[in-house]
Amino acid sequence: MFLNPQILSITILDIIFLIFGTVVFFLSLQIYFKWDFNSSSPLQYKLEKQSFLNAVIIKYIFYLKLPLFLFFIFTLDSLSDVITGAMCAAGVIDATSYGMPLFILKIANIYLFGFWLLIHHIDMRYPNLEFTKLKFGYFLVIFVLFVLEIYMELALFNSIDISKMVSCCGTLYSASATSAISSIFNIDSHIFVYIFYGSYFINLLFYKIKNAYGFTLGNIVFLIISIVSLIRFFSPYIYELPTHHCPFCILQGDYYYIGYILYITLFAGTFYGMVTLISKSLDKQNTNYFKISIIFSSLYVLIVTTYPIIYYIKNGVWLN
């Protein structure tokens, strides 16, 4: 296993998460199958106390997972210095078969843990804890993905072979790549621009009419379209290089770490957009999730839009 201080930190935290997560998993099992709020039995009082402890542990795992995700990206990026051929995190991700599935799973888990947090937040607003069973039942499901993520992360670090040459991001994110991503380079980039702005304006429409179903679906689409259009259309303007489409190099200092701002605004916007449906289904109170989502998404759109415009003003040409 390839070890450096960052990998060691992530591995230790993974083990700690796994221990606490497993404890919470078994307690959640008991809560899920034996919860009866109307009962005044010793078991029910015990479960009520346990449910608060459980919730605190899950909350802290999530709070630590958020910055840890950024640290994970940072680690992959720093590993590119020791892996032959890798220029950024993209090359490290491609170095093993675990890389890309793990990366997608990590993002999905952040969303899923975020949804758990929202259900917990709603549950705490009602004196009869009506969503406790639901939230711990839901945790039982996401725990499986959580364990899978830890397994894949350890497997990734274990299978990195620094003597093996890998492809750089310039190859991975191009029409010549062998992965599925290469197919987007065979489509006219302007189509992605139309779909990107189109899906944003559809979200704006759902925001205006406060339609949670449409807004949630719209945000799922917007998340995928945003990442694809970032790779296909916007990234060359950020790099000021027509052939460079990497979604990871923008996280580097050479580009003022703009990638972190872009991804945080995109993920926050789409997360709050997706939770509007959960909020509408479970909560009776009005929330600002629509507004928060649209603010973050608009910020994302504004930032990515700025790059081509500035480039055009400076150079008088479009890159694609």
Binding site: S40, P42, Y45, E48, K49, M124, P127, L129
Partner: protein, 222 residues
């Protein structure tokens, strides 16, 4: 008003199970003054803590003002307590280095009320318990009886319907204890429901006490 139904409370101390209350039940009606009588360790203070929702039973139900407070989570229990219950402690639990008035208004702080309301409530309770003239005095400079009056005034600042007093005269001499009992009578006349946990014999023969509950080793005894 207050209903305890088959309450069992067990503590675990040094791996040893201690039964504080063994399946006790009783009810207290609105406006009652109930004395919980018994020696130390009989379970009186545990009953008060349960009524105030400061702790949860091991099993059984507690209903206060038609709310099952034993099932409330901590945040809801705090709000309920803040709105409905005033607590007078044996050692007063005052902050010694701030003034009488500042101690009295403490329970209002979490609700962030406006200053006019705070002053009006503080003046009203200080007047009621005759400590208006001491409002700017630092609490540690007060006598035991005066500190007791400050503690009572503080318990009344939210105008609660229920007042719980845990050994309120344990640190007072007989004259001051009789003063306190007079104050309790006044509170009862105001329509407050009062529960006093005590082993002070002064409380046992009072004509305005609605009910005396005798407790021994976590049981109610006749």
């Amino acid at each position: 008003m207050i209903k305890l139904n088959n309450i069992f409370k067990q503590y675990i101390s040094n791996n040893e199970k201690i039964i504080a209350l063994d399946h006790i039940s009783f009810t207290i009606a609105k406006g009652d003054l109930v004395v919980l009588k018994g020696a130390s360790g009989s379970g009186k203070s545990t009953v008060l803590s349960l009524i105030a929702s400061l702790t949860k039973p091991t099993s059984g139900d507690i209903e206060v003002k038609n709310t099952k407070i034993s099932k409330l989570s901590d945040n809801f229990a705090s709000t309920f307590r803040q709105q409905n219950i005033g607590f007078i402690f044996q050692k007063y639990n005052l902050i010694p280095n701030i003034s009488v008035k500042d101690n009295i208004i403490l329970p209002l702080i979490p609700t962030n009320p406006d200053e006019l309301f705070v002053n009006s409530r503080a003046n009203s309770v200080m007047k009621l318990f005759n400590i208006e003239h001491k409002q700017n005095i630092i609490v540690r400079n007060l006598s035991g009886g005066e500190q007791q009056r400050v503690a009572i005034a503080r318990s009344m600042i939210n105008d609660p319907d229920i007042i719980l007093a845990d050994e309120p005269t344990a640190n007072l001499d007989e004259a001051l204890s009789l003063d306190f009992i007079k104050t309790l009578k006044e509170l009862k006349d105001l329509g407050k429901t009062i529960v006093v946990a005590t082993h002070d014999p002064l409380f046992f023969e009072l004509d305005f006490v609605t009910k005396t509950i005798n407790m021994k080793n976590g049981h109610i005894v006749e």
